[in-house]
Structure formats: structure tokens, C-alpha cells
């Protein structure tokens, strides 16, 4: 898949324009705060309907403006699509080939991007909710049904918590049953995905770091002793007293955790900042590889200033370990060395105050 062009209107600080991206490599250079990452964010929004940086629609609209739009021309293996996203009066609307869609999930089958950014560190060392978010993203990319199960589970947990707050326990057994049914499916998918991660992640990390470290991912489910719906129901029933006391569902996949283990020890506790950053990058690389394995499609890669953190050798090893891709966007600072004019079909933009110009134009 390839994003041929992206047109922005009142999006963040970007000057309204049509940016030609019909190339395998798109490099964006410029000082901080000029709008390099904003184009990567626009691509991400076109792929998923929401941003990786902000949950508020308002933040995406240029200062002092009331509406924004993004239009992308996307080429997939056998088709061509136009994806349009608008925000007007605080309401987001998404169109695929001029037809409005009601669920942004429909976008996922058009174009998939994987963003590599500084915020990825949270997936390695952040709160369990951040780690769940990363693995849930991966599961949603490789199994279309997962996102429906996840939405259903979140709704059931909210309803069950409301029951606990209202102290009407006559329907608690029903929510136990429902949570157990969907929760076991989620737990099994998470187990399977972590197994797949461990077939790739430790070796990839070792290859890029070249320091003999081989960290593995450990899935720590909240329902440790549950392998079927009946087990999960039993665990939920046993936690009724505690749940009633805290007025919330204290066990279930919404409380699952992930750990990074190296030789039975917690890797993150002992890892240097550089190693944690590398783990975050390799985690995303693995996500891209798993997506390609599961779907046969190549994702669009968005690398936001992350190569800066790697020394030259690690950078080379990291780039050669990346999943194959049809298209990749890179951001660089002005003095940073980036790809030479090489065998890649590439275009380089200089970004200044939200305006894009090709390097020839800016010279």
C-alpha cells in the first residue's frame, strides 16, 4: 500500500497544501516545532481515524480556526481509494470513496501504518494500561474480530461496575457470565500474540543491540488460573466481596499486565535508557513484522525522530531489521545525516513554519 498524496486544510500548523507522497521514502527535515511530525500524524489519522498524540479533536484544528480536513489518495494492491476526514463543529466525519462510514474500524482494512515515536517508551516502561494499549493495537491489526471483543469487554466492565456501584447484585451473575465469555477469548488471543512476539522480538533485539541481551515478553493475565469460561466465572464469583467493597471489577483482562524478562529477571528495571528506547523501537518493528505475517500486507512506516537516538551502527542494523514496506516516512533535524540519494525512490521535503518545499525548491 502507498499513500500517493495527502491534502491538509487547517490541520495543526500546516499551511493548506497538497503534498506529493507518491514515493517509497519521504524524508522531512526541519527544526523542531516546524511541522514535520504533523504530516506523520496526518498519515496516521488517515489510517486509523484518530491521532496517536491527542485524543481531543479540537487540538487537531489550526489555532483560531473552526474546521479541518485531510484527504489522502491511497493505492492498495488492487484498488485505489480516497479517504477524507473532516472535523466540523467538534464532530468528526470519515469518508471512504465519498461514502461516509459510521465506524472508523472500516478504515483499518484500507491502509495500515506503524508509528515509531518517543512516546513508544511508555509501552516498555509505562503503566500496565499503556502496555495493554500497545498489545491491543497489535491484536486489532492481526485479528479483525479482536477490536469488537475488546469494545464488548470494556462495555461489560462498565456495566458491571455500575451494578456494583448501585448495589443491585441481582444481575451480577449475568455480567460474570458475559465478562467470562468475552474475556477468555481476549485472554487466549493475547497469549497467542505474545507467543508470536517471542518468536521474533528477542532475536531482533539481540541483533540490533549486538550486546548479547535477549529479552522476552511475559504475559501476566489477571485470571491466572483460568483456561475456560467456567474457570473465569468462578474467579469472578470469588471476587464478589472485594468487587462490592471497591465498587469495581477487580479481576479480568482489563487488568492484565506484560513484563519484559531477561534470564528470569525484570529487564526494564535493570535496562539503561538506551536499551529501553531500543526495546520500544524493536517492539514496533516486531508489530510491523507480525502484521505482514498475518495479513500479507506491508504497512506504511512512520519514523518520527527515533533514529536520532541510535548510534550509526545500531541505526544501520535497525533499518536492515525493519519489516519490508512499500512506503516509509522519516523526520530528521536539519544537520542530521539521512538517506543519501540511493536506490530508493525518494523525495525529501524541507519543513518550515508548516510549509513543505522540496530540497531543490528551498535551495
Amino acid at each position: 500500500m502507498l499513500i500517493e498524496s495527502i491534502q491538509t486544510y487547517n490541520f495543526r500548523n500546516l499551511t493548506p497544501s497538497l503534498v506529493d507522497t507518491n514515493h517509497q521514502h519521504i524524508t522531512l527535515t526541519g527544526d523542531n516545532g516546524q511541522g514535520k511530525s504533523n504530516l506523520l500524524e496526518a498519515v496516521y489519522i488517515i489510517c486509523y481515524g484518530s491521532s496517536f498524540r491527542s485524543r481531543s479533536h479540537k487540538q487537531l484544528i489550526r489555532f483560531n480556526e473552526k474546521e479541518m480536513s485531510l484527504i489522502a489518495q491511497i493505492r492498495t494492491q488492487d484498488r485505489h481509494h480516497t479517504v477524507k476526514l473532516t472535523i466540523q463543529d467538534g464532530k468528526r466525519r470519515i469518508y471512504i470513496d465519498d461514502t461516509e462510514i459510521s465506524d472508523r474500524k472500516a478504515l483499518f482494512s484500507i491502509c495500515t501504518s506503524i508509528i515509531f515515536s518517543h512516546e513508544d517508551m511508555d509501552f516498555v516502561q509505562g503503566a500496565p494500561a499503556e502496555q495493554r494499549r500497545f498489545f491491543d493495537q497489535t491484536n486489532s491489526l492481526i485479528n479483525e474480530r479482536y477490536i469488537d471483543d475488546l469494545r464488548m469487554m470494556n462495555m461489560i466492565v462498565k456495566q458491571r461496575n455500575a451494578v456494583l456501584r448501585q448495589k443491585d447484585h441481582s444481575i451480577l451473575a449475568i455480567y460474570d457470565q458475559k465478562l467470562a465469555e468475552v474475556g477468555i477469548q481476549i485472554q487466549q488471543q493475547r497469549e497467542e500474540t505474545v507467543r508470536s512476539f517471542n518468536e521474533l522480538f528477542p532475536d531482533l533485539f539481540e541483533t540490533v543491540s549486538a550486546d548479547g541481551i535477549h529479552p522476552e515478553i511475559k504475559y501476566v493475565p489477571s485470571w491466572k488460573q483460568a483456561s475456560c469460561v467456567e474457570d473465569a466465572i468462578r474467579i469472578l464469583q470469588n471476587s464478589h466481596e472485594r468487587d462490592a467493597k471497591y465498587e469495581m471489577t477487580t479481576t479480568g483482562p482489563h487488568r492484565d499486565k506484560y513484563q519484559f524478562i531477561e534470564h528470569t529477571r525484570d529487564f526494564i528495571e535493570t535496562a539503561s535508557t538506551g536499551q529501553r528506547r531500543l526495546a520500544a523501537l524493536v517492539l514496533k518493528s516486531t508489530q510491523a513484522l507480525l502484521y505482514e505475517q498475518a495479513t500479507g500486507n506491508k504497512p506504511v512506516l512512520l519514523l518520527d525522530d527515533v533514529l536520532l537516538e541510535l548510534d550509526i551502527k545500531k541505526r544501520e542494523r535497525f533499518l536492515s531489521s525493519l519489516a519490508s514496506y512499500d512506503q516509509a516516512f522519516f523526520t530528521f533535524l536539519p544537520d542530521e545525516s539521512y538517506f543519501k540519494k540511493d536506490s530508493y525512490d525518494s523525495i525529501a521535503y524541507h519543513v518550515e513554519r508548516g510549509s513543505y518545499s522540496t530540497h531543490e525548491e528551498s535551495c
Partner: protein
């Protein structure tokens, strides 16, 4: 103009009517025969005085008991449980059901403050235990709230003599498998019907 704006605002509060439709209706109302508007206004302002809920099933009726509940020729062994009164009319229009109804007036959703006590589940259990019904058809919507309500009623009736059934959900008639969404397809597969025992 203030009076037009107020009319558009009022119309756009109706379900399924957006701003554009509300404007179109408002301008149409301004330009058509005033007698039609008076008649429509009269119908709207008196509808709540004319329509009430059936004492037996909770559906809409103009009398004390609805036509369905008064009909002795219906199948006394079947009762169909629905969320809203309008669901009764939808099922009646299908022409394939000849039993009785019970309207819950909602579905269980603790987040919205709707528990079993806010619905007519108590009356339903009473009707089932004192009536001749042998099957309860749970025709709630295939939503999280509808499923929860169906499971709860099944749970309450687990030791009674009646059987409970749920409306099948899945592929639309005349639909195309290729364009069916994954959730619907998964549900259809789970609820598939056996065609032969071999």
C-alpha cells in the same frame, strides 16, 4: 427569522431528523395549505390523550386492553418479549407470529440507571407463572443491553416449566456473504442451523 428558527430547532429534536431535514420540513410547512397544518397540529397535540399502554402487555392501545391481548384466537402457549411497544407492530407486520406479547419498556443497562426493577420483568414473570404459556420468545435487540436482558430473564425462568428461545441473528435475507460485517458473520456461524444429521 426567529419563528422559523424555533420551528427548525423543535423539529430537529425529533429522532432521525437532522438540521437539514428539519429545515426542509419547516419550509414545506410554511408553504402548504394552512388546513393541513392545523390538522397535523391537532393530531400531534392530542395523540398522548388518545394512546395509552395496554394493562396486560404494555403495548400501545386506544382502549384499556390492546387488540392482541383481547384476541382469543391467538396461540395461548406463546409469548414474545420485546423492548419497546413499536417492536410489537414490527413483528405483527411480519405476519408470521400468532402468539401474545410482553413489552419491557427498555433493556437492562446499569450505566443508564436501568436495572430489572425499572422494567416490567416482574409483571412478565407473573404472567408466565399464572398463564398457559409453554414458550417465551426473547425478541430483544441483539445489543449488549438486549443480550443481558435476555440472559437475565432466562436465568429467572430456569426452574420454570416454560422453554425460552431467542430470535436468531445473522445474515440478512438476500444479502451477500462478501459484504457482511465480521461481527454478524461470527454470530451467524455460532448460531448456524443444522441441515442434516449425516
Amino acid at each position: 427569522m426567529r419563528s422559523i428558527d424555533e420551528l427548525i430547532r423543535g423539529l430537529s429534536r425529533l429522532p432521525g431528523v437532522g438540521n437539514k431535514s428539519a429545515s426542509r420540513i419547516a419550509y414545506h410547512l410554511i408553504q402548504r395549505d394552512v388546513r393541513d397544518n392545523h390538522l397535523l397540529g391537532e393530531l400531534i397535540s392530542t395523540i398522548q390523550d388518545k394512546i395509552r399502554l395496554c394493562d396486560v402487555c404494555g403495548s400501545f392501545t386506544e382502549g384499556q386492553i390492546c387488540d392482541v391481548c383481547q384476541d382469543p384466537h391467538r396461540d395461548h402457549t406463546l409469548i414474545c418479549v420485546v423492548e419497546q411497544p413499536q417492536d410489537v407492530f414490527t413483528i405483527e407486520a411480519s405476519g408470521v407470529y400468532n402468539g401474545y406479547y410482553h413489552v419491557l419498556h427498555g433493556a437492562i443497562s446499569p450505566l443508564d440507571g436501568i436495572g430489572p426493577d425499572q422494567l416490567t420483568i416482574g409483571q412478565l414473570i407473573e404472567r408466565i407463572t399464572t398463564g398457559d404459556f409453554s414458550e417465551v420468545i426473547l425478541a430483544m435487540n441483539p445489543t449488549e443491553e438486549g443480550d443481558t436482558t435476555a440472559m437475565y430473564i432466562t436465568h429467572l425462568l430456569r426452574s420454570s416449566r416454560v422453554t425460552t428461545s431467542r430470535l436468531a441473528s445473522g445474515l440478512p435475507v438476500g444479502g451477500d456473504l462478501e459484504y457482511t460485517d465480521k461481527v454478524t458473520l461470527a454470530r451467524s456461524l455460532r448460531g448456524r442451523i443444522r441441515m442434516s444429521d449425516q
